[in-house]
Assembly symmetry: D3
Homo-oligomer: 338 residues x 6
Amino acid sequence: MRVVTLGEIMLRLSTPGYQRFVQSQSFDVNYGGGEANVAVSISNYGGEGVFVTKLPENDIGQCAINSLRQYGVDTKNIVRGGERVGIYYLETGDSMRASKVIYDRAHSSISEAKADEFDWDAIFKDADWFHVSGITPALSKSAQELTKVALMEAKKRGVTTSFDLNYRAKLWTKAEAQACLIPLMEYVDYSIGNEEDAESCLGFKSGSDVNSGKLDVTGYEKMLKALCEAFHFKGAIASLRESHSANDNGWSGVFYSNGAFHQSRHYEIRIVDRVGGGDSFAAGLIYGLLAYKDDQKAIEFAAAASALKHTIPGDFNHVGVKEVEALMGGATNGRVQR
Amino acid sequence: MRVVTLGEIMLRLSTPGYQRFVQSQSFDVNYGGGEANVAVSISNYGGEGVFVTKLPENDIGQCAINSLRQYGVDTKNIVRGGERVGIYYLETGDSMRASKVIYDRAHSSISEAKADEFDWDAIFKDADWFHVSGITPALSKSAQELTKVALMEAKKRGVTTSFDLNYRAKLWTKAEAQACLIPLMEYVDYSIGNEEDAESCLGFKSGSDVNSGKLDVTGYEKMLKALCEAFHFKGAIASLRESHSANDNGWSGVFYSNGAFHQSRHYEIRIVDRVGGGDSFAAGLIYGLLAYKDDQKAIEFAAAASALKHTIPGDFNHVGVKEVEALMGGATNGRVQR
Amino acid sequence: MRVVTLGEIMLRLSTPGYQRFVQSQSFDVNYGGGEANVAVSISNYGGEGVFVTKLPENDIGQCAINSLRQYGVDTKNIVRGGERVGIYYLETGDSMRASKVIYDRAHSSISEAKADEFDWDAIFKDADWFHVSGITPALSKSAQELTKVALMEAKKRGVTTSFDLNYRAKLWTKAEAQACLIPLMEYVDYSIGNEEDAESCLGFKSGSDVNSGKLDVTGYEKMLKALCEAFHFKGAIASLRESHSANDNGWSGVFYSNGAFHQSRHYEIRIVDRVGGGDSFAAGLIYGLLAYKDDQKAIEFAAAASALKHTIPGDFNHVGVKEVEALMGGATNGRVQR
Amino acid sequence: MRVVTLGEIMLRLSTPGYQRFVQSQSFDVNYGGGEANVAVSISNYGGEGVFVTKLPENDIGQCAINSLRQYGVDTKNIVRGGERVGIYYLETGDSMRASKVIYDRAHSSISEAKADEFDWDAIFKDADWFHVSGITPALSKSAQELTKVALMEAKKRGVTTSFDLNYRAKLWTKAEAQACLIPLMEYVDYSIGNEEDAESCLGFKSGSDVNSGKLDVTGYEKMLKALCEAFHFKGAIASLRESHSANDNGWSGVFYSNGAFHQSRHYEIRIVDRVGGGDSFAAGLIYGLLAYKDDQKAIEFAAAASALKHTIPGDFNHVGVKEVEALMGGATNGRVQR
Amino acid sequence: MRVVTLGEIMLRLSTPGYQRFVQSQSFDVNYGGGEANVAVSISNYGGEGVFVTKLPENDIGQCAINSLRQYGVDTKNIVRGGERVGIYYLETGDSMRASKVIYDRAHSSISEAKADEFDWDAIFKDADWFHVSGITPALSKSAQELTKVALMEAKKRGVTTSFDLNYRAKLWTKAEAQACLIPLMEYVDYSIGNEEDAESCLGFKSGSDVNSGKLDVTGYEKMLKALCEAFHFKGAIASLRESHSANDNGWSGVFYSNGAFHQSRHYEIRIVDRVGGGDSFAAGLIYGLLAYKDDQKAIEFAAAASALKHTIPGDFNHVGVKEVEALMGGATNGRVQR
Amino acid sequence: MRVVTLGEIMLRLSTPGYQRFVQSQSFDVNYGGGEANVAVSISNYGGEGVFVTKLPENDIGQCAINSLRQYGVDTKNIVRGGERVGIYYLETGDSMRASKVIYDRAHSSISEAKADEFDWDAIFKDADWFHVSGITPALSKSAQELTKVALMEAKKRGVTTSFDLNYRAKLWTKAEAQACLIPLMEYVDYSIGNEEDAESCLGFKSGSDVNSGKLDVTGYEKMLKALCEAFHFKGAIASLRESHSANDNGWSGVFYSNGAFHQSRHYEIRIVDRVGGGDSFAAGLIYGLLAYKDDQKAIEFAAAASALKHTIPGDFNHVGVKEVEALMGGATNGRVQR
């Protein structure tokens, strides 16, 4: 199972122990980013995660690569050069105090990379899947072109593709997003994202209110079905987060595919670190579809895997297939494993 | 908005990560104390917090000053001299294990300071508000005199005053407290404190049981009204804490003022650090009254600000006006702010 | 009150802050083990905890001894020699992710110790109680012999004995356990353990399902009574854990003794560290019986003490008698103790 | 004594304990930059350090301000806005392994600030001295203009000025530096920098070899004198570093002023952190000239103060006047001060 | 070998990693004090160290006891009660920056203890040696009385005594010290201290200059001999420290006893932590005299043991007899011991 | 450049900050072992380091693999299974206090591995070099067989081999070592090790005294030449360590090859971590010979690379070719690299 992902990996600087930024004399160092997180998950499941990006020729760039190699990700297709590694600062919230992210990612190497710097034959050799998110084209004009080329090169070679919509208002307007993304959807097999993302990224409307804290599952079936039809997706998937507080979230997933609607178990999570939760959901779906070839098991795997991610510090989801399958099977009681 | 506070700032030595004292090889260092915490809050809201105290001419005294300057507090009126910085040791509780505080504050510089060491003209120049708590006079005989002089000097200049009753059984008896505090009340505009404090500090009786875990709000209306009448306060305010466990508390505030009773939203909090919770409530009220000139908004600001304090390590409340107002507006779901 | 315990103390290496093993660049160092934990509890209650084991003549062995001496445990009867200190690696779970223990304890000094290396007269001089668990004989053939000799030497001197069944599937099979343990029960006054342990260790069957998350207390009365009758125990005790998640557990204790059934208060615990929870329960029972000579108070003490253990990092239960008695008296609200 | 400085303050991210970048899971957080470091020193000496810069309206910008306020620096003239806080990554060297700095400072707020964003009247009110370094104009075209305007505004108001040449090859070429800096020298009273900097920044040639590890002091007298004459400086100063290794350096200062040459004591330093060493030297000179009005004492103060800086972690020099004067007086034996 | 010591044990709060006080957000926690440090050394050498003091009935007092028990010190004769644990703050120096100690020890429990609170029969049962320093009587008037009683009680029982002069100018004047200490010398067998201490504490004059960094050994022979004669000591010992810098010290010891002068090897030390260096020297002498009954070996043991202390963080000297003897035998090359 | 190494990788548990074992509440976690360290060096130089071992199927085994992958080592030929990961505990020395290592490596997976568990064709495919040390066969009888098979398989395929003698007295006697190793030398091209190792491992005598702290270089030429002749080595290399203290060592290398003797520059090193110093020397030689095909440059590279290792915490040598070459070129002054 060879899964290629393309995007930005950032240096994450987070305050320890619920400190606010103004209190902290040290930052915990992690590396992460939507597509990188997916590649790590795939490798943790025993697959071959391949991450493609551009990173500067300095030690911070090397650290980002090492953080991926450590978990077995294939980093051979990472191009070196450019100005800097993008950064995001993270302060972990508690209770009604939300986690806070400050981005300092402009001018990163990947945001200025060009499509012809990459060797698409090498990248897609023996690939089963290609995954990218809406954050990557949002980085810059050249990144839009890069994303498009990558999707086209993937489809040209018959690689299945998934696209995590992931609208980021700090990076572009809805109009810009839609102008870029709608034409890309023809190269996409599976869309990932909820109604809010679909509306922002694709101009696709629906009636449920994701901020209400309550989720309307039947509304999701209609929405995902319509989305598949509108964009000719093989499937559309969404994670359903109920934000009770910064610590406590409800979590589950829905999946429309091959004319059927699938819903996962529902989990109540006490959160250690929710960054990367959505990425672990995407990775779980990809693994699930490739490993089980069963839509219901795939959505169950995606939901269980990403529920576990919320209990692990850092962007990456350090769980194995056995642990995810145990949770899919109902092992939610957290008894000590000796 | 210039708010002057007077009291003791202590070195706080706390064990990291739920360790008990007997387990710890290091202490986290913070500085805090009732009135100092109020001054920091005011500065964090963009006002001018002024903290008045006495601290020894050594590096630990300097550290206490720096901890205030760092957050913009005006420390120019802090007198240097005396023997030592008071200390409190803190062990953070969990579940049914309570947090534990050991005081080592006797003989501190402020406890031995005299009123004539301070330049009251400079201190109260352009001041809008003066705040002090019942802990300050409890420190020593000279501190009783100092507190009285400060209140009189404030009133002489037409500065609004607030007094946080805050009875501390380790520092004095109820009889001593009442003998000192009742005469001071004539200089006080706003009293802060619940029924238990009112009884201990002012000999004022009422019938609700604060240890029961359940709170009788209508009882509070009667109590606060009677308190205002008895002591001719412009207003009386109390925070209502429901201690479910060391981690989980209910939280809200009540305020009687100008013939009307106001009650804030109610919050359920997962606690990171509850020390300084009451001080952030007092600071919120002061800011709210000065900024909004609206009693209901003031109590809402006080309750929301202090709810947030419980999620932040250390004595100080590191939140801004926008964050408090967002919570007053109902943003309790803790979704990541990117 | 002199309480002797015999067993293995291990070096515990745990990842900080919810990190998984693959993320950690440092391990927190603690020492612990079933019987050692009991000895520390007894010393923390003001009794004389005596721990007997064998540890190598190196600094790691010395560290284990120092960890016990620090809390007042009598370590004079610890024999030095052998190959190594056993180790267990611990990763703290969260939510539906379980805590994980990896044992590396084979070939430890105690597992290869012989009964004649110990001075039983010195060990049991003035002893009131002897406690050992089913983990100790599970370590090796020689440890089985050692356990048997210790129990016989204790009974020969009229020392009351307790045995914590504690079946460990990684160390031996049920058949091996039963072949060893059933004959030992004639030297045991109090058995500690739930139905699952009774079945695994003693071949004793009953009908409740400990994995269901719900507990049938009346079933426990029947089970414990039958267990006492079958093995001629003075009493049988069990802790009842309801694993809602890795963070949240229900907790209480049941005790059948002298023809009567006693049940403790029930606690809902937010867990900091549940390792050693069962040992603190055993220690609480021993202390309770010796101090109060009242079965109901003993089970209440055991349950309250061990509920508090879950809130403290490390294997040892750092609480004093006053704290436990306060909780027995209902002080569950976790208000700050100043 | 009011000393104004203008420049960039950066977030410094350094690896703890001699770790290389590729080993580190956390970064120590400090803030620093040439002119900011000077302002902190002045405040630590009891003067009024004023730092002028532009910082973004986010928490990282606020942290930079707080780091200055904590030590009493006047930050009221810091403009808020722009894109980001510049960063430098630092790895501390040992023995023959050099310390390593990676800059990520492009696009910082100050590098894009315009001269008319600053209120020069407020900035230079009551100012005794203005200090800036060659790093500031090297940041960008607009920073060149800003530096020029600041120098002109200072001179217009009769403020004494100093300029630390500080050539940074990563930021501009020698040709660019000279084109910018030579015309600025007419506004400069005191130049700071060694021969290498004078050559790079001002095209000024001399014959000593700073990389040889040996220093030719008499050559320095000639060089500084010629420099003063060429650019009409009141004085020229240089620190003389002998790099024996990353840990051990010789250190002293030379100063040509009012027709006389002054040389300080020589120190052999075991280095804790040499970043900011040159800035503490500049600050020492400024303080020395303003406080003593004696060129020899000024260079002694500069050398002693900056020798001490090398023993303190972080960019800032946390020493007081008494400590520097004690060292000037020969107290080099490091006996414990009780 | 049972060695009793009496004095104050303090909480030591030290900044990590060469930080100055104004930089530190955490303090490392150790416990130590002259006589406590001696007791720990004796226990580390396999003897029975007994420490006598008074400590408050709170957790900080308990931590101090635990820190001693951990290393095998007999703490049974520590009286509980009084106000507080004394504190000292420590900042570790580097190069020409001296280490800095801030004491906050007034009003500690031991400083207010009375002689009749102690059970001298129990304390001196089977004791071979009693050791106390000049710091103990300097604490207070009652501590003077306590010191005197302890020395008398020791001598009454034929216990050998040693007295470490240790003048502390912050605690008393030379006149006060001499008035107290000179009469006590009749109970002292061995004095420990250099010429400076002898002058300050006993009014005893000699001509060498301890601040010069160079030491005159022959002068020491004369001084120690005269000292013995003047006060009828069995022996007098001094450590000779050459303070090259805060990091590098020369170190050796001299001993006059039984009409002969003995000088130890000389060590050049790179210092990790020099606090407790003198105490480890005293402990080494006591152990050496009791174990070897050979004055030359005793001074060699004292010098080697205390040289090693300088390489260990904290007040206590964690070395064993084998390590000290290896160093006495010339093993200074520091090759890895596998 | 593909370099294969075979041996044990251990979990290294070290105390932070010069703490002794008895003081430490946490251990720093690293992984390392002679041959693993060589593989990491090769990868850090841009070559293909391949490490072969056996590790258990648990998370600690996985951590060891990840530590290698992180730095680009090919871990595909690591066999999973067996009982445990070997451990060594490390305490870092200072001054005359030596670093201390406690091994707990018995029963590790690699010590019980069999030669037929490895796929020698895959391992040696395209290999240029095979390296193993005398520690590997010392682990067990099966490890002796494994080492022999590996060397034979390498030579069968024409791979150049090197053998680091590395006698470990804790693992076997000299007689055992010689019985095993002498016959293996026929498969070895390059021997690494000093005279002491040659004597212990190969029964080879010579007259210099490695413990004297002074080294006789001309004696080394004779010794290495004789060694080459005796065992038909292509070359023999030794590092020359002068242990001045635990912190300060002299360091250089000597190499006899192709009838010529080569000596490297000499370095004086202030040590951060000397564990792995010898391994980095071996790796430097291998890289140097393969990259430069010049014996003098190879020994210079080996000496410079390993000098740098001593400045880096952990077993692995995190330096690049450019850094080593700069040091070979004389850049020893440690000036900051910006």
